[in-house]
């Protein structure tokens, strides 16, 4: 990438006494990227985000937001960031209207412009119906959206969203993902999540961290390739055909191992896992057809992110 990254994390470390919450995390996020920040609970995701946004002081390292160092020039950096903290905190006694007006004022907008900004954020987060109810009385989903509206209000270059869809129903999740997708070309976005389908849905890149370290960094597709399910071939057939098919396929050098799952009505599913992850659907399909094996369904599996995730985060122990 030729353009300088909008967000650059350099060797962030955070120790709380003897606890090493974050141990040397570095990465860059360019304009247009949506970075999924993955990791088990307690991996250091939120702590890293708190350091990027200037809420926590790092033990070592720093974050550069659009050229502004969070440590030495915090106010300039904070102006460029929209941040949704974990749990989407907001002043419970205020109404969303008053709360967004306050944030707009602090963000430096006046009069008509502030009203326009608030109106746009309200529209984007779909808050119109609850604008004048105390935030205290809102459902979890609405609170989350108030937090999102607040983060988007000033149209920031860098968005840091800590579990933005947590607590939302499937429709709301879809809305939020659409929103993120819509605004992503102009921004650098970091989303922490433990929902892996979300990574597939909106992220252009994923970072896996555990115990405060970056363990993997790549596109969701690249991560999926690490899965043993990547390019595996599954076939649904009569249970009686399984041994014959197994024998036929086993002769093929690309096949490493099999798994069989018994189904209903005398059907079974046979899955062949590849050696080295090369595609083999066409080959195996041809072998089965030529031998006249009954096949009800045949398909190529995708890599499974959850499995890769488990693999990466538990192996490091």
């Amino acid at each position: 990438m030729s353009a300088p990254p909008m967000l650059e994390i350099r060797g962030l470390k955070k120790y709380f006494g003897p606890i090493r919450a974050v141990e040397d995390v570095s990465f860059q996020v360019a304009k247009g990227e949506v970075l999924g920040f993955l990791g088990p609970n307690g991996a250091g995701k939120s702590t890293t985000m708190k350091m990027i946004t200037g809420f926590l002081a790092p033990t070592a390292g720093t974050a550069i937001v659009c050229g502004h160092d969070v440590e030495t020039d915090p106010i300039a950096a904070k102006k460029r960031i929209g941040y949704l903290p974990e749990g989407a905190p907001a002043y419970p006694d205020m109404t969303p209207a008053a709360f967004l007006d306050f944030v707009g004022a602090i963000r430096g907008f006046d009069g008509a412009e502030r009203a326009d900004r608030v109106a746009l954020a309200v529209d984007r987060a779909q808050l119109a119906g609850v604008l004048h109810q105390p935030i205290d009385t809102l459902s979890k989903g609405f609170k989350r959206r108030v937090g999102l509206a607040q983060a988007l209000l000033h149209d920031p270059d860098v968005l840091i969203l800590d579990e933005p869809t947590d607590g939302l129903d499937p429709n709301q999740k879809h809305e939020v993902r659409e929103l993120i997708r819509r605004i992503s070309p102009e921004k650098a976005i970091v989303i922490s999540t433990h929902i892996l389908e979300e990574v597939d849905a909106i992220c252009s890149r994923a970072i896996v961290i555990a115990r405060g370290r970056v363990l993997a960094d790549g596109t969701p597709e690249a991560l999926e390739k690490r899965s043993r399910w990547h390019h595996a071939v599954s076939v649904v057939t009569a249970a009686g055909e399984v041994p014959r098919l197994k024998a036929l396929w086993n002769a093929h050098p690309a096949v490493a191992e099999f798994e069989v799952a018994e189904g209903e009505e005398g059907l079974a599913m046979l899955t062949a896992f590849p050696r080295g992850g090369a595609p083999m659907l066409a080959e195996l399909g041809r072998i089965a057809r030529e031998a006249g094996v009954r096949i009800d369904e045949i398909r190529e599996e995708r890599g499974r992110l959850d499995e890769v995730f488990r693999d990466i985060t538990t192996k490091a122990a």
Binding site: L56, A57, I75, A76, P89, M94, A98, A105, R107
Partner: protein, 244 residues
């Protein structure tokens, strides 16, 4: 300065968004009246002044001001809004000042609402209203001192109860440090200079002169520097908490 104003407005609005403000105002006004008319023997003294009213302010503030200041930072920490607040593009100084001024303005409102007592004394006699005004100014300055101590304590903890109790205790020390109870404790062994310094920290001593209508520069300097010192400590504590 703009940011201080916005924070000030939000905080002051926050007091009135809940019953806290109304409960506080009612209790403050009732207690102020009770103290003035019963304990202070306002009528029996037969004098057209508000000494009986102002004399009890240190004791009223002692437990009512920590009730105002306890939420300033503790509440933000408990509810997590501090993470939102401190990641806005504001300096810690602005945050500290905005919050303090809002709490101070709230006390100011409570003081203004004691005007019926001022009317009463003007109906009954002919008080020196200059002295009354000085009393109000002194009371407001003393409130600022208590508030700054309370705000500073509130920055340490996310428990409002702890913030209240510790602030009340700290305020008590500052209130009574000029009384024989404290001074006798030090007089036996500490050098004279130390004893005088401790006495010099007393809110009671500094307030007593002002409430009699004498606005001495030394008393003003005392309260202003006390407030500045505790607000500075407040900002330092908030900054320190960033380290985790």
């Amino acid at each position: 300065m703009r940011n201080v104003l916005f924070i000030f407005k939000r905080e002051l609005g926050g007091y009135f968004a809940t019953p806290v403000a109304y409960v506080f105002l009612v209790i403050f006004l009732v207690l102020a009246s009770v103290f003035t008319f019963y304990l202070g023997n306002f009528f029996e003294r037969g004098q057209a002044d508000l000494q009986a009213f102002f004399n009890f302010h240190p004791w009223l503030y002692l437990f009512l001001i920590p009730a105002i200041s306890m939420r300033l930072w503790s509440e933000e920490r408990r509810s997590g809004t501090i993470e939102l607040f401190l990641t806005l593009p504001i300096s810690i100084g602005q945050a500290v000042l905005g919050k303090f001024l809002a709490a101070w303005a709230f006390v100011g409102i409570a003081l203004v609402l004691t005007f019926p007592i001022w009317i009463t004394v003007n109906v009954l006699g002919e008080p020196d209203n200059g002295i009354v005004l000085a009393g109000y100014i002194g009371s407001l300055m003393m409130a600022a001192g208590y508030l700054a101590i309370g705000a500073c304590v509130s920055a340490i903890t996310k428990s409002q109860v702890i913030a209240f109790v510790v602030a009340a205790a700290a305020c008590f020390v500052f209130t009574v440090s000029g009384t024989p109870m404290v001074l006798a404790f030090f007089a036996g062994w500490a050098p004279q200079g130390v004893v005088e310094a401790i006495a010099g920290f007393s809110f009671l001593t500094h307030f007593a002169a002002i409430s009699r209508g004498v606005i001495d520069l030394r008393d003003v300097v005392y309260f202003v520097s006390l407030v500045a010192a505790f607000l500075f400590a407040n900002a330092a504590l908030v900054e320190l908490k960033k380290a985790g």
